[in-house]
């Protein structure tokens, strides 16, 4: 059974204070690992897809990396508008097509 565990559950940063969010996963045959951002009262918004160990992707202040067991979402010099819940999810290479999600990391960036 696929499992996704995210840590920490919540993170409070000062503006400009860089940090990383962790996503540990167990899946037999990873087709892709996905990062989404979710603002209160809204649906998840796609950020990145990573397909193989060693892959990295960047978007503005965010950088996602992938190993065979975990993924990190690095946030460099965050701003208050980066405050949101960040969700990690995996998709199986075969079998069920739907994503398996972690419970998310709630990030608060204070000015």
């Amino acid at each position: 059974e696929d499992q996704v565990t995210q840590s920490p559950e919540a993170l409070r940063l000062q503006e400009g204070e860089s940090s990383s969010l962790n996503c540990s996963y167990t899946v037999s045959g990873l087709r892709g690992l996905f990062w989404y951002r979710q603002d209160p009262g809204k649906g998840p918004e796609f950020l990145f897809t990573l397909y193989s160990a060693g892959e990295e992707k960047e978007k503005e202040r965010l950088k996602a990396t992938l190993t065979k067991k975990e993924s990190f979402l690095h946030i460099t010099a965050p701003k208050p508008e980066d405050s949101a819940t960040y969700l990690c999810a995996v998709r199986h290479y075969t079998g069920r097509r739907a994503l398996t999600f972690g419970s998310g990391t709630r990030l608060q960036v204070q000015p």
Binding site: K42, A98, G104
Partner: protein, 111 residues
């Protein structure tokens, strides 16, 4: 173009009543998913439609839950005899290839 839309945005119902939730996917997207998100938790897969293939219903929690989709258009999720534990945000997503795009969700409250 328009994203995924869902209606209603909020639904309050009494225990034992039936409810119907609607999802309008992005035009041309062949895959459609329903997920449930309880307060403070990650997304829980419910059902997956892909074109004219038989749907993957493996995530439906009980026979009170059902969903339909006609071709590659609108989908409806029906919950019969609602219970208080059905209170959650119900999210719909559609995709053409690897990335799933989410709607804003329907917040269901069962009194």
């Amino acid at each position: 173009g328009a994203g995924v839309s869902q209606s209603p945005s909020n639904k309050v119902t009494e225990k034992g009543k039936d409810v119907e939730l609607r999802c309008d996917p992005i035009s041309g997207h062949t895959a459609l998913y329903w997920y449930r998100q309880r307060l403070g938790q990650g997304l829980e897969f419910l059902i997956y439609f892909q074109g004219n293939s038989a749907p993957d219903k493996s995530g439906l929690p009980s026979d009170r839950f059902s969903a339909e989709r006609t071709g590659e258009s609108v989908s409806t999720l029906t919950i019969q005899r609602t219970q208080q534990e059905d209170s959650a945000v119900y999210l719909c997503a559609s995709s053409l290839r690897e990335v799933d795009f989410f709607g804003p969700g329907t917040r269901l409250t069962v009194l």
